[in-house]
């Protein structure tokens, strides 16, 4: 009997006009988004490779280490293949950072900066489609699952037979869920095939693992709305009421909670603005630079008598002094900047964490955060990348300072040619899958708890449902 109920549920849905419409729309949207995601990724990849090559050439063509120190290497953030599924914040945050001896490196030049109109609409990635469109479909499939049968009188007719209610609701759940998944799974499999065969787009084993976890998240997310739809459908007496209630909850989950939680977090946990931090850094830089000139003059004054005695030694000493002093200064600046930055980052992170945690009660936020983490396009990834650049800066400045000093010929003032062979390189070890997964566990938890609550509610409500 359960089988008959499931079969009927599926058959009834897939022969309905709404199914055909949903299926077509899902197929078009999913395939379109994956396709545009891939093409965007491909062009970003090209851009990235070109930028890396250009930077290298730029550095090699520098005439002196001094020039090199001022310019410094540009670090580009490589695009990530899973941004095709969940672009996360990757379009909003900077993609390139200049590392030089003076300034604290920062990632700038985001996609939205160069094309602000995109920020209005956001990315049309798969996560967005699941979050907005498919969740609406889940509601469309369930809002009248129970109340609709009551309105049509079929519930009475069904229950005039020897049909236990628990079996009926189970059949409806399973059948309804399968018919909701059909329009989702087929295009998803197709898009995975596209990812698999598309030239120059390759996913590592770990990427596939991440992708599957993201898909799992999609299913959980849709299950939340599916069970919610059943619950509301089993607690209302008119399908129009059920639909309105669901729409209201959807709006709260998808748009209101995420926005309100960001506002609430900034109220609860305010942080200084970026400008304040930059101003503090600049003030320190100026203070240090002002002192530097005097210090050099002092040294010259003090050691001038020695110059007459031994010119060569004097020059050596001066070189040594300058190198040490320069190193000392840069490390002081770095330290100060790092301290300011650390403090700022810590506070910013704690505010972000707060916002994220507040908003997590909404499954839509949980979906966004978890897929971002899994795709490595989230805030954490951005911060880790920035941190790796900041960690790289001292090793570069140390290297370039020592080169600069060694290459200057003080008697002629000539500077040696630039040789990049032993320049330290920036390295970034992206987070491992297990770490990303650990970060998304709360999101999985939220979804599962909501599903259990909604399902249990729907189940219990249906057992007592007034079928007349």
């Amino acid at each position: 009997m359960l089988k008959d109920i499931i079969k009927k549920e599926i058959l009834e849905t897939i022969t309905s006009p709404k199914f055909v419409f949903t299926f077509l729309l899902c197929a078009v949207l999913i395939l379109l988004s994956v396709y545009t995601g891939i093409t965007t990724y491909r062009s970003e990849q090209k851009e990235y490779n070109a930028a890396v090559a250009l930077n290298k050439k730029n550095l090699e063509s520098q005439q002196s280490y001094q020039a090199l120190a001022g310019l410094g290497p540009k670090i580009n953030k490589p695009p990530h293949v899973l941004s095709t599924i969940a672009s996360g914040v990757s379009e909003a945050v900077g993609r390139v950072a200049s590392v030089n001896i003076a300034y604290d490196p920062n990632l700038v030049d985001s996609k939205y900066e160069s094309n602000p109109v995109f920020s209005v609409f956001g990315a049309l990635d798969l996560t967005f489609i699941v979050k907005i469109v498919l969740s609406l479909f889940a509601i469309l499939f369930t809002y009248d699952a129970i109340v609709g049968e009551k309105e049509r009188g079929t519930l009475k007719l069904t229950l005039s037979n020897r049909v236990p209610r628990d079996r009926l609701i189970m059949g409806k759940v399973v059948g309804g869920y399968i018919s909701l998944l059909i329009p989702l799974i087929i295009p998803l499999i197709l898009s995975m095939l596209i990812l698999l065969v598309y030239p120059n787009v390759s996913l590592t084993g770990q990427d596939w693992g991440r992708l599957l976890l993201m898909f799992l998240m999609f299913f959980l997310y849709l299950s939340v709305f599916f069970t919610l739809g059943l619950l509301v459908s089993a607690r209302t007496n008119k399908s129009s009421t059920s639909f309105l209630v669901l729409l209201f909850i959807w709006v709260v989950f998808v748009t209101i909670i995420p926005k309100v939680s960001v506002l609430a977090a900034s109220q609860l946990n305010p942080i200084p603005s970026v400008h304040e931090i930059t101003a503090k850094k600049d003030a320190f830089l100026q203070q240090v630079q002002g002192g530097a000139q005097k210090k050099v003059l002092d040294w010259v004054k003090e050691n001038a008598p020695n110059a007459a005695k031994d010119q060569k030694k004097y020059q050596e000493d001066f070189k040594k002094f300058l190198e040490d002093y320069q190193n000392d200064l840069t490390s002081k600046i770095d330290e100060n900047n790092a301290a300011l930055e650390r403090d700022y980052q810590a506070r910013k992170t704690s505010q972000e964490r707060l916002a994220i945690n507040i908003s997590r009660i909404s499954p839509a936020s949980a979906l966004m955060f978890s897929t971002m983490s899994l795709a490595r396009t989230g805030l954490d990834d951005h911060e880790q990348f920035l941190a790796s650049i900041r960690a790289y800066k001292p090793s570069f400045t140390r290297w370039v300072n020592s080169r600069m000093m060694k290459s200057i010929n003080f008697s002629t003032g000539e500077q040696g040619k630039v040789n990049l062979a032993d320049m330290p390189l920036h390295k970034f070890e992206p987070e491992s899958l297990s770490k990303s997964l650990a970060r998304t566990l709360p999101d999985f938890g939220v979804m599962i708890v909501l599903i259990i609550i909604f399902f249990a509610g729907a189940y219990a409500s249906f057992l007592k449902y007034d079928v007349r």
Binding site: K156, N161, R162
Partner: protein
């Protein structure tokens, strides 16, 4: 056999819809229940099907107390509701097939379904079309076919002739007579005094939840049922 003993239903808002109702429908008997709108006929049927719990008393199907063994009692009853919409995206065949399976009947063929649909007078070109576009009468016939194919010893009908054209109405009554002759107990709520008189073995009048008159076919011989109905409905008003 269908039976109620002191069956009473008081809704949550205090409305007494069925008031100490006691009657029996024997096997091979058609019982027609009349009553004004809101008299409590549908409520009685809902009590039989255990869709609502009685406040007092019992409803028995084939001797089974429907509140004690609701599931088992349903094996012995078919139900034709007042206005069933059925599954719109299913054809007559598909609807029939689904409900037949729910009734626990297996192994029926398309020919069996076609026979049932023909017997209720549904036109053949509608067998395979979606029931979404059926007229009210066509849906009513399909609902009746569902009840017929279940072949339970008791049958509850809530205003089955409403919305049927005269010929179909007559055909329906003929079907009920056929069922009675097979030994089934038929309980029907209706406003159709004319036609019901032709087939009823017993007639009940319901007023404000109470059974105010109960007469057998014999007792009704020579009486004008319409007159009698109006008389009973007015009698205790004042």
């Amino acid at each position: 056999m269908l039976e109620t003993i002191n069956l009473t239903k008081k809704y949550e808002d205090g409305h007494l819809a069925v008031d100490h109702l006691s009657f029996k429908v024997e096997p091979g008997e058609i019982f027609c229940m009349f009553g004004a709108n809101g008299a409590g006929k549908t409520t009685t049927i809902n009590l039989f099907l255990n869709f609502i719990p009685p406040t007092e008393g019992t409803a028995l199907i084939e001797g089974i107390d429907v509140t004690k063994e609701p599931l088992r009692s349903k094996d012995f009853v078919s139900f034709v509701s007042e206005n069933v919409m059925l599954y719109g995206s299913f054809s007559a065949y598909q609807n029939l097939d689904y409900f037949t399976k729910l009734a626990g009947k297996r192994g029926l063929t398309k020919a069996d379904y076609a026979r049932a649909l023909k017997s209720v007078g549904l036109q053949e070109d509608a067998f395979n079309t979606r029931s979404r576009n059926y007229s009210k009468g066509m849906r009513q016939k399909l609902g009746l076919a569902i009840a017929i194919i279940k072949d339970a010893p008791n049958i509850l009908l809530d205003e089955p002739t409403s919305g049927l054209d005269p010929k179909s109405g007559q055909e329906l009554l003929n079907l009920l007579v056929k069922m009675r002759d097979q030994g089934k107990s038929v309980f029907m709520s209706t406003h159709d005094i004319f036609r019901a008189k032709l087939i009823a073995d017993r007639v009940g009048f319901m007023k404000k939840g109470r059974l105010v008159m109960l007469k057998t076919r014999k007792e009704l011989e020579g009486e004008d049922l319409t007159e009698l109905y109006i008389q009973y409905m007015e009698e205790r008003e004042g």
